[in-house]
Amino acid sequence: MSESMGRDLAGGHLRTWRDGGGRVVGYACVLTPVEVLDAAGVLPFRVKALGCSKTDRADARLSRFNCGFCRSCLQLALEGAFDFLDGVIETNGCDQLRGMFENWQYVAPAPWFHYLKVPHVVTPESLDYLEHELRRLAAALERGFGAAVTDERLIEAIERRERIRASLGRLADLRERPAPAVTGSEALSEVIAGSALPPAVFQELLDEAIDRFERRPAPPAPARRLLLGGAAIDDVELVRDIESLGGAVVADTLCFGSRGVSLELSEGWRDAPVRALAERTLRGSTCPRMYDELPSRLELVLATAARARVDGVVLVHNKFCDVHGIDNALLRLELEKRGVPVLALEREYGAAADRGRLRTRTQAFLERIGGGR
């Protein structure tokens, strides 16, 4: 049985949390507002499948036409790697994720289960609906784990996450410097670790890391600066591979990376915290599952690319992922029209998958934009 990599990344902190009687609830899609779980005194744990190399149990339930991320998560779930979770939250992030959760619950039901339904459009009515959904989530957490999600506890939880977001902002600035003080793979590792840590612990570790990055001598300016987009990618190996070819990932819009943690709350959010979380999730989310929001997604990529002064954009999607696969194709058409070179990469999710194929494409792209070693 393979230990869940996410749990290993969190290492002892998760164990100390649970030894202290703390409960842990798993979720998969970053649309899930972790502050509501914090406020219920529960540790949010983003289900992930780093380093899962075989998917035979999952392939008996899902099919080989489903994406590798879902198959790898189900594989670990069926192998018992997530038995330490006290509960699981399904979100309709995408069709395949729903299928993964339905199989997980069908074969090995979690002790506590909740289905958070997030609309695909941004209208006043869908906002009301999502606010109501977040209140149902809070009530379910209360029933399951006893701690009432009051406005005070929610505000406190949001403020703690906002401080983390500020630190992540500093990390992003370090990465975007002319001579980046932190590499793309280091920055992504921090965010991934954070998805399995109690907020207070993550804040401390993050700030220590940022100080360390600031103190160490800055490396020479990279040959080429890249923005990494697309999604369902939390494979640090892929980023390390790209950077080893001379393309520094100085910015990213990955949902498991910066995009998931850089969403801003509207002014005066303290007056109605649940409403503010709902608004951030819908209006703030630049996820391609919001089918009428391409302009805001395109704007995010263009603004990030300009700010980070990148030479090219790499858009990645897991094979069989339609939501990002099609969106990347559309973003590529839009960006290339505006003179921004784009490399679209399709890969199987999993440890060092397709490594050889992707290195050739990445090196050629870097050569195309006048870079490479």
Binding site: S53, K54, T55, D56, R57, D59, A60, S63, R64, G68, E348, G350, A351, A352, A353, D354, R355, G356, R357
Partner: protein
């Protein structure tokens, strides 16, 4: 009665002659490559086989044909599909076995069978995972490793590679890049055998979602101890070994079957 079984697959054609009073004693068998002219070649191959088994043509009671190109078998008494033949052979040689994992050259079948040797449920391989036998053969040709010395090689593997591509033909380019990244042939073949084994495990699990039933492995891939080891580890219980060359299972089944007088 002396019977001949002929399994004409996409890659190989397998022929056996047995006397069904003593089915445990395979009188003669041959395996040859299926080519474009297999239809005409079989005439001579059957005579050669009967000569080897010292059986005059007149004493041959039945010719059972199966496989993708069964219709080309000259003078066939009947044609039966692969699942029935494999199930018949397993029921005859391994009573009590309830599942046959038939890992052929082009496709693989997970068959559950009842006591009478009738197939009950069938799970076929994913379309893109077909051609497993050819994949192994092509990799053998490229890395100049004979199919028979794969097991020896894999035993020495230090760091088996992971093959993630589901299209078996496409996985070849993945293997090439591993080689170019310095992986040894042992690591590469260990990776190939484990990915083929795990595909069979996933198929078996689809057939028996609950606990695994007593099973055996047939088809060309079952000759490879490395693949068998991965399947046994994946399913958690040992297989009941097929007593003859697993590649001949369907042909043996075709030789053991006859028309059921009750049903025209």
């Amino acid at each position: 009665m002396i019977a001949l079984g002929c399994d004409v697959g996409s890659l190989f054609t397998k022929l056996v002659v047995i006397d069904d009073d003593r089915p445990d004693d395979v009188m003669a068998s041959r395996v040859l490559r299926t080519t474009g002219t297999i239809g005409t070649d079989l005439e001579a191959e059957i005579d050669l086989l009967l000569h080897e088994a010292r059986v005059p043509r007149a004493r041959l009671g039945s010719i059972g044909a199966t496989g993708r190109f069964a219709s080309l078998v000259p003078g066939a008494t009947f044609v039966e599909d692969e699942a029935h033949c494999v199930a018949a052979a397993v029921a005859c040689y391994l009573p009590g076995v309830e599942v046959a994992l038939h890992l052929g050259g082009q496709s693989s079948l997970a068959i559950s069978l009842d006591a009478a040797g009738e197939p009950v449920r069938l799970v076929r391989n994913d379309k893109c995972a077909s051609g497993t036998g050819r994949f192994l053969e092509a990799m053998g040709r490229k890395l100049d490793v004979g199919l028979d010395d794969i097991d020896g090689l894999v035993a020495g593997a230090a760091k088996p590679t992971t093959i993630t591509n589901q299209c078996v033909v496409y996985a070849e380019s993945e293997v090439i890049s591993y080689i170019n990244d310095g992986a040894t042939r042992a690591d590469v073949f260990a990776g190939i055998c484990s990915s083929l084994g795990r595909m069979a495990v996933a198929q078996a699990r689809r057939l028996c979602p609950g606990a695994m039933r007593p099973y055996t492995l047939t088809g060309g891939l079952a000759r490879l101890a490395s693949v068998v080891a991965v399947v046994e580890a994946g399913l958690g219980i040992q297989r009941r070994p097929f007593p003859h060359d697993p590649k001949l299972a369907a042909a043996l089944g075709a030789a053991l079957l006859e028309d059921d007088p009750g049903h025209p």
